[in-house]
Symmetry: D4
Subunit: 171 residues, 8 copies
């Protein structure tokens, strides 16, 4: 039986077409062994359910919310309005404006209701997952250790590519 552990991170997206992007967040959480749930909700089309999700998130044991939305992206902001959990906003590239509309809608929150905004699209979705891990790692040494290894692997990958480039240049 799968998912015996209660999810710690809720990954919410405005449409199932956002799944290929938002899965990047789920992947890194899964790699770290952190249970998460993925949900389709919408600030504009299912506002009551979205509000309720925000209101009940903490009591269900969720620790961090990740919300990905495009255009007039209100999803992260609405969750933040209804919860005191950290909310990470991933601006998606869903319109002609390439995410400029979604990141301004996500970033420019008024004082009192922060959204932790990350970069647009897949980069941001992956970083949202890592940011969630960084938050959870404050209370979980295993995750902290995973993050150090991840940072090490990032560094190693750069150094390896550097070696390859130098070798190929020398030939």
């Amino acid at each position: 039986m799968k998912r015996v552990k209660r999810p710690l991170v809720g990954i919410v997206m405005g449409s199932d077409s956002d799944l290929p992007v938002m899965e990047e967040a789920a992947k890194v959480l899964k790699d770290a062994g952190v249970p998460c749930e993925m949900r389709v909700l919408s600030a504009h089309r299912a506002p009551a359910e979205t509000a309720r999700y925000g209101e009940t998130a903490a009591s269900k044991g969720l620790k961090v919310l990740i919300a990905g939305a495009g255009g007039a992206a209100h999803l992260a902001g609405l969750l933040a309005a209804h919860s005191t959990l950290p909310v990470v906003g991933v601006p998606l590239d869903a319109t002609r404006f390439k995410g400029v509309d979604s990141f301004l809608s996500t970033l420019q929150m008024p004082p009192g209701v922060p959204v932790a905004t990350v970069s647009v699209g897949k980069w941001g979705a992956r970083n949202a997952g890592i940011l969630a891990l960084q938050i959870l790692a404050l209370g979980d040494r295993r995750i902290a250790s995973f993050l150090k290894q991840l940072k090490g692997r990032l560094r190693e990958s750069v150094l390896e590519k550097d070696r390859q480039l130098q070798e190929s240049s020398e030939r």
Copy 2:
């Protein structure tokens, strides 16, 4: 006793500091004899009350909602999510981005949930009031007549300034 008539237009703003701008909408409605109410609500700080306002607006007799907000302006969008009344969004200039953030947050609504966006700031607030009148005029000849006069006065004002400029040039 004032305000015996039920308001037909709800003018909602995110903060009382927006009042000097949003009053432009109220002024033109008042000139036309259309009762309206002005409210402070916030998609981020009082989301439940804002949602309820949207849900109950039609049953209270409101016909048009006007919402002014700045920054990550979710107010008009949240009202539109909770109501099928026409919602007019006035992007306000509340941050360093001069309303670019607020108009993208207001304009770029997903299909299914329109917000009728008008120009940024006072121009837009006045136009929101006129747009509300244009909508109400479809069922009220007196308002239709007011709008024709208003259009006539606008035209007259341009022609008068034109005469003055030509006279002053000739001197």
Copy 3:
């Protein structure tokens, strides 16, 4: 014989190449049983005809005008200059600037002459149709009922996708 009913909504576009986008407005009106007409007009290439269309729209029984244009998009503004009907502007993505030029040309109308601007392209065209319905619904219970059902279907669609995503995650 088709179109026995007089059109209530005029959908105007600057070029027949805009038809695939602007049809989105017509579709939702048709779904609601609201008669509309589609016209090609141009503020720059047929300005007199466009002006006349605006001037005579109300007397022909039209209630709402929807205008889609790209680039230096003057079509909605010109109609609004010649009519006191509500004019909905759909900024089209016709140039390299992806609709930034057309939405600024459409949105930033001076006080006195509002254009109800919606989002760029197909999203906006569909929303223009729905906004027209919201306006007409104030005087037509059948349309009001259609809009409530439409909102319900939008919500259902989100919830259904949410269920599917949760199920597929559990597998």
Copy 4:
């Protein structure tokens, strides 16, 4: 009696508040001895008069039209729609967007209806006047000669400032 000569250039502005900017165009024309007229017209508030101005401009002896407008600046475009005279558009800084809205509304004209757009504000108004002179100079040697002198004075002014700067540096 002043203004015995028929104006060759029509300088049109959307509001008399634009006069301090648009006078820059009139000044340089006056310096060159070219008669011009200044008019207040509005694509949105007096569209019929604006259209008529465009239609009759050539027959009244006007050779070049200069139009200054801000926001959703349709004035130059509407004149160009109604005339085959060269139309120079001066985008004005009338809104929070510092002329970005007005120059995109002025510049991005569709094929067939050009507007000769110049820089935003006073720089542009002066340049509109000079551009009108450059056009008129093709058929008037006196104006051509004025322009050569103007160019010479511009150059002299730079060289003089250069001398002053070098002298002050040496001290």
Copy 5:
């Protein structure tokens, strides 16, 4: 023997790769029977030749210069610096910034040295040709007549498309 007539319009471009765009200007001039020449010059790679072209243009009988360039587009500005002929600038879409760099480089000329900027790319190139015709028409009735017919054809084309759309809608 071709080109017995001296060219009246010089069409200059920064690279022969700009030819497919800039030919739009030549086409409309050719349709009007106005002789023009097309040249490759560069403000950055052949600045002396470009300067000389500007300096000698008037004496060679050219009446209007059209310059198309992309990126940091200095070509129109450099010609305007070296000539008192009207210079029309066509901002080209040559970089990732889709012509934003080239139109700002072309448009924002300092007072004293105007460039008549038209829209970006093919639209602009065609409009540059028409603008040149509008300028030449002031001294040539045949061109003036061509322009009126062109305007008429533009209008007819819109009305024809309007008829077709209405017919197809009725079916």
Copy 6:
């Protein structure tokens, strides 16, 4: 003796001139009884010290880093490169570009190294403080309770302003 408790949050800024903005973060932390330290560091002028600060932050007991910087804002990114703690970036308005440069420099981090970006300037600095509290609240009920009260006070403040506006409208 003050500050017996080790700081949990490090608030870093590129210059002491940023203090009036960044103090907003410190204020809300102080209100919540969370010890923090404020530091001046610079990715460009003291890069080694900044790197060391990032590397040693966790071992000194810091849980969250908040970095405010303007222009080519590399401070938050450099700290994130050297630490696996959550790093909150506050884009400051230090140049002519009003924070557009700083938020793009802060937001657009590559995958693997997230920065939790908040809105520009004072709004963002206060929200950075609240976001830090939201993170710390996951392991501290007292802070969680503070956040709920803060949210309640925000809501109350909106409702109070709403009451005042309605009362003043009725007079």
Copy 7:
């Protein structure tokens, strides 16, 4: 007698009103004991003199050119077109577009003709001076040593401010 040494750096500006900004470049060169000259030249108003300045710069012993200009800033590009010396471009904030026009005009040079662009305004002018020193330092140990001290002082200034902030926080 002052200025016995031939200038190594030419600082060129489009107008003497740019002097307060461009002096920042001269100041740091003076501090380093590097002789420079300041000139007013203009790509648009004195193009021949500007071209000649570029062509003769190397033979006069100049090693680096610094050019500051605003709007459609062609000055640095024109100098680069006429010289193979390194040209540093300082985009100035001379129009409503806050330097966006000038830095795109300066930065987006075509392949073959680089301009080393620095940040907008005073920051950039000072950095242009330092960049010139970095270039000259490759052949002059005294300048190299000056730059190391400058870097040290920058670092010291940050650390000193950090100490002060910590002290004031502790009080």
Copy 8:
């Protein structure tokens, strides 16, 4: 045996996927006979190695550093923070924002730490190589001569294309 000469220019990129762009810099250096090395480093994933590369660059005999990075491009800035060598920044087009994020992150450096920014992408990479040659040419006549020939070839190529265009037009 290859590469007996120590590299004079270090070309650094954030990822080996940037190689096709950054090779443009290497190509022109190779054409000029200037030895260079290409390295993969990362301000965010290998910050310590990047810092060390900057610190040791001068002592290893490098004269100019070229850094290409996309997104929140901190690579050039970090090298400039750790070195007094001239650092040329090539903003890469690595995200949806087409290099706007990377050039603002590269360009807007604070006073004291310049980055010589060139145009975005391949144009910029080639220009970075040429700029490095221009810097090295101050102390190397052979490179100075190469640059003059390169400039001559650029000019010849324009003139040749001009001849071809004129010939093809005449046919």
